[in-house]
């Protein structure tokens, strides 16, 4: 049939409308029957008239497009779910969070983050340094540095020797000394020394970038942990239950987490309501800080004193020293580590801070304490290095002298100048002391002993204690569970600091012991499972469960500090100490960074060398690096501010719109609410009332004067108040001429055999 232009346009418009209806049908708040009817109607219409408009193909294309869009949405959703499912240990951490609160869970989240960081570092180290040396470098036993010396070969495989990382361990790819100093190795001409140096520096660079980026991202969320909402408790009450939970275990966790969350908010609220006697508080806080500073000073001096004594002991005969005198340093440091943290906690009771803030102070103080340990260790290490350097000089001279002797003898004996290199087995060559190996071994031993101590502490301090309390309780005079010693609480500050310092050790030691990063990966992995188990099995939640601060920036800040502290020794070693003459990838050079200079001169075009000599002025590099870091951080933070700006603008706009609507006295502010009129239940669910309460305030009455309890703004609405407030009452459209009578209750239409959709309650419209 031929249609006029106007009719075609009108038809097209209707068609579009129907199509739109089909797509948005499921979002409409209508009852099922209505939806089905409308859907059939719309589909029939579209089918009929799309054909008439000659868009037969268009319909298929349209249907295809709709299907693809739906598939895309579903795919996106599945992908999001998959990504969430891929996050490791998410369920474990959620379990811990629901039972112990968000502050304990924040430790495990930090642990997981560290694991991710270490994986990347491991990838660098392993892929660019260890693998090339193993695959393309000379095998074990071919050159002196890769062979166990003759005198050690008998004991090289003993467990006690391996435990100290001597013997075969020392002459393997785990330590610095194994790597050869050939400029290029293998078919691919891989520049191993250059790669070693760059990876060593790159590890610090990458860690720095990641820490700063995480800090910037965290600072966007801002806040110190306190939830700034207008409706904290109301939201927790009405919107926290997840209606999609069907699994009993998940439900249990959800109940626990809701309870914990309420307790956290209650703690926050009680802190706000506390009475303030400012002067007393300030005095107590100053006193507490004074006491703690004294303690820290005392422990610092004690460590210094003990180290000085150990230096004297080292000069004496080793056999004459008792065990205590030999291990005095470690003993004192362990003692301090055990005694001081509880002491700090007790003194901190004077300060009476919010638990979240008290945790931060505790972390800071124990950090200061552990710095003492750190500087002692470095001090001792540095002494050892200097000693080895001295020995090396003499051995090196001896080796050169021996070689010269050999040449002289050979040429005088055979009367030639073409002297072949001496035919000595690699195991018999005189070896230098290789101080880098000593440093690497020192770090590895420290990390291993740290791991052992921490695992043992958990086993004894938590597990054994829990077992004893549980089973001895049956035959003990007082209640072990309620009184002393009871079950342990998870020590957040101790564990976080342990993790941070452990990472510091890794950063310092990775340059001299490439295998250390791999060791750390194993440690973090096992730690995650072990500690999760220990927490769920042996610990009880803190008495005052508090919400962790939303930005983990405090932990990140500590990590950043430790990163800088561990950067210094390594940079110092690279810049000033000379490498050993016979071990490691830099042997034979004057300074370690000579490798870079060499590469530039030989491999790169000459003008770059010129640029480089100008640019390597330290006065230029340092400010440039700091500036770049500052720029990076500020850029990341600015993104957060932009987002916050947008949110605020949106909020303001919403508030303005609300005001406008309220003021303009609109009858229907919301299309959806009009749709919802249909849905309001047809009969009230209220049992016959005991009294004549005006249950639907303002519904029955026109001007709202009978409803003094309504919101001021809403009361100004006109007759159509049914949209606003009450849901259960009948909805008379007729003008009201009498006061509300007693309700007829649910008897009305319900009992009859009419399961159809809502019949109008007093409405004129026919039921659909």
């Amino acid at each position: 049939e031929s249609l006029s232009e106007g009719e075609i346009a009108a038809l097209k418009e209707q068609l579009e409308e129907k199509k739109k209806l089909i797509v948005t049908l499921r979002n409409k708040p209508w009852r099922m029957k209505k939806r089905l009817v409308l859907l059939k109607e719309a589909q029939k219409f579209v089918e009929e008239f799309e054909g008439a408009l000659g868009k037969g193909k268009g319909k298929k294309l349209y249907a295809f497009k709709v299907m693809m869009t739906k598939k895309l949405i579903k795919f996106k959703r599945d992908f999001e779910n998959f990504k969430t499912a891929c996050i490791p240990w998410e369920r474990k951490i959620k379990d811990v969070e629901s039972h112990f609160g968000s502050s304990v869970a924040s430790y495990f989240i930090f642990l997981r983050w560290m694991y991710g960081l270490n994986m990347v570092l491991f990838g660098f180290m392993f892929g660019l340094v260890v693998l090339p040396e193993i695959l393309m470098g000379l095998p074990y036993g071919s050159i002196p540095r890769k062979t166990v010396p003759r005198e050690e070969q008998d004991t090289a495989m003993d467990f006690s020797v391996l435990n100290d990382f001597e013997g075969f361990c020392k002459y393997s790819f785990l330590f610095y000394g194994y790597y050869n100093n050939d400029r290029t190795i293998g078919v691919l001409k891989f520049r191993l020394p250059l790669s070693y140096l760059l990876v060593g520096v790159g590890i610090f660079g990458y860690s720095l970038m990641v820490v700063i980026r995480t800090m910037a991202r965290n600072s966007n969320e801002g806040g110190d942990g306190a939830e700034e909402g207008e409706f904290t408790f109301s939201w927790k009450m009405f919107t926290s239950w997840d209606y999609l939970i069907g699994n009993p275990e998940t439900a249990d966790n959800k109940f626990a987490s809701i309870t914990t969350s309420f307790k956290e908010s209650i703690v926050d609220e009680q802190e706000n309501q506390k009475d303030e006697n400012i002067h007393l508080r300030r005095f107590l806080r100053v006193l507490a800080n004074f006491l703690i500073t004294c303690t820290l000073g005392g422990s610092g001096y004690l460590i210094y004193f003990v180290v000085k004594r150990s230096q004297d002991f080292a000069k004496m005969e080793q056999d004459k020293l008792s065990w205590l005198e030999k291990n005095e340093v470690e003993f004192v440091m362990s003692l301090l580590g055990l005694v001081c943290p509880p002491l700090f906690e007790t003194i901190a009771e004077l300060e009476d801070y919010h638990p979240r803030i008290a945790l931060k102070w505790q972390l800071g103080r124990i950090f200061a304490l552990f710095l003492g340990n750190l500087y002692t260790f470095l001090f001792a290490l540095f002494d050892e290095v200097n000693e080895k350097l001295e020995t090396e000089k003499s051995i090196r001279n001896a080796t050169i002298w021996a070689l010269n002797q050999y040449y002289a003898n050979y040429s005088s004996y055979f009367n030639t100048t073409d002297v072949p290199p001496p035919n000595v087995s690699p195991a018999d060559v005189i070896r230098g002391p290789c101080w880098e190996n000593a440093v690497g071994i020192g770090f590895v031993k420290l990390v291993v002993s740290d791991i052992q101590v921490s695992y043992l502490t958990i086993l004894v301090g938590d597990f054994l204690r829990a077992v004893i309390v549980r089973f001895l309780n049956y035959c003990w005079c007082w209640d072990l569970e309620a009184g002393f010693p009871s079950y342990g609480e998870f020590d957040i500050s101790g564990n976080v600091l342990g993790l941070v310092f452990n990472q510091g050790m890794i950063w310092m030691g990775a340059f001299y012991a490439p295998g250390l990063v791999g060791l750390n990966i194993l440690r973090l992995l096992s730690s995650m499972y072990y500690q999760c188990w220990a927490v769920m099995c042996c610990n009880v939640p803190h008495e005052r469960v508090f919400k962790a601060s939303r930005s983990n920036n405090f932990y990140m800040g500590l990590l950043l500090l430790v990163l800088f502290l561990s950067l210094l020794p390594v940079v110092y070693a690279i810049m000033t100490l000379s490498p050993s003459f016979d071990c490691g990838p830099f042997s034979g050079q004057d300074k370690i960074y000579d490798v870079v200079m060499e590469t530039i001169e030989q491999d790169l075009p000459s003008f770059i060398a010129n640029i480089f000599t100008y640019a390597t002025n330290p006065g230029l590099i340092l400010p440039a690096v700091l500036l770049m870091l500052a720029l990076y951080y500020l850029n990341a933070v600015s993104k957060g501010y932009k987002q916050a700006n947008m949110d605020l603008k949106k909020k303001m706009k919403m508030a303005r719109d609300e005001e406008k609507n309220r003021r303009n006295n609109k009858d229907s502010t919301n299309q959806v609410m009009i749709d919802l009129e249909d849905l309001l239940p047809k009969k009230s669910l209220i049992p016959p009332p005991i009294e004549e309460e005006p249950t639907p305030p303002g519904v029955v009455n026109a001007k709202g004067s009978k409803s003094p309890k309504m919101k001021p703004g809403a009361a100004a609405k006109g007759v159509n108040l049914q949209k606003d407030v009450s849901l259960a009452a009948p909805n008379p459209r007729a003008p009201v001429t009498y006061a509300p009578g007693p309700r007829r209750g649910p008897a009305g239409n319900a009992r009859g055999p009419q399961p159809g959709p809502s019949r109008g309650r007093g409405r004129a419209g026919p039921p659909r």
């Binding site: 059939k40 779910n81 998410e90 009405f238 239950w241 309420f262 047809k682 049992p687 309460e693």
Partner: protein, 184 residues
């Protein structure tokens, strides 16, 4: 069969398996059959929900929890992820209104809280939480929450749309039987 038909067919299957002796296979004559609440709350989607009794009561016509098939479909449709916020708000208000007087009073709050925490909080804590909630949300000062108070409070909540769920909980814990309605 269109999508809508097939999904309501699946829902009908679910409805029927609750009470096979009650529900007929053939619904073309719109028979008036209602399934009692005791059977409905055994459904896996509702079993773990602390408010399951209230949910079923709210969607029933007689207020005692007996659901006809249309009520059944309406219930699932309203609880579906894609149903509009206003709809959920209305039904949420009805669910939390335990004494069905169209206001959420202190008693209702206490009952809600106890169901949520399974009685783990001490009475003082319960009192504190209820007082604070009432203080926050009650705008007209009558110490009970009317629908407008409730709606105002909930509309500002960040995650009300999915009742606070995250996709991980859905995937791991929930049964995704809401899917039939996604295809409508």
């Amino acid at each position: 069969m269109t999508n809508a038909d097939s999904s309501s067919f699946r829902l009908h299957g679910r409805y029927r398996e609750l009470a096979p002796h009650l529900v007929p296979l053939d619904y073309t004559n719109n028979p008036d059959i209602r399934v009692p609440p005791t059977l409905i709350v055994t459904m896996p989607e509702l079993k773990e929900n602390p408010f399951r009794d209230r949910i079923v009561e709210t969607f029933s016509e007689d207020g005692h929890g007996n659901l006809s098939f249309n009520d059944f479909v309406d219930m699932f449709s309203a609880l579906c992820e894609t149903s509009p916020r206003e709809l959920k708000t209305i039904y949420a208000f009805k669910i939390y209104d335990f004494n069905r007087d169209n206001f959420i009073c202190k008693e209702d709050l206490k009952k809600t809280l106890n169901k949520l925490t399974k009685g783990e909080l001490s009475p003082e804590e319960v009192l504190l939480v209820c007082d604070k909630s009432m203080e926050e949300a009650d705008l007209d000062g009558d110490s009970k929450l009317s629908f407008s108070d409730f709606e105002n409070m909930v509309s500002k909540a960040p995650d009300f749309l999915r009742y606070g769920s995250t996709s991980s909980t859905t995937k791991r814990g929930g049964k995704s039987t809401w899917l039939p309605l996604h295809n409508i």
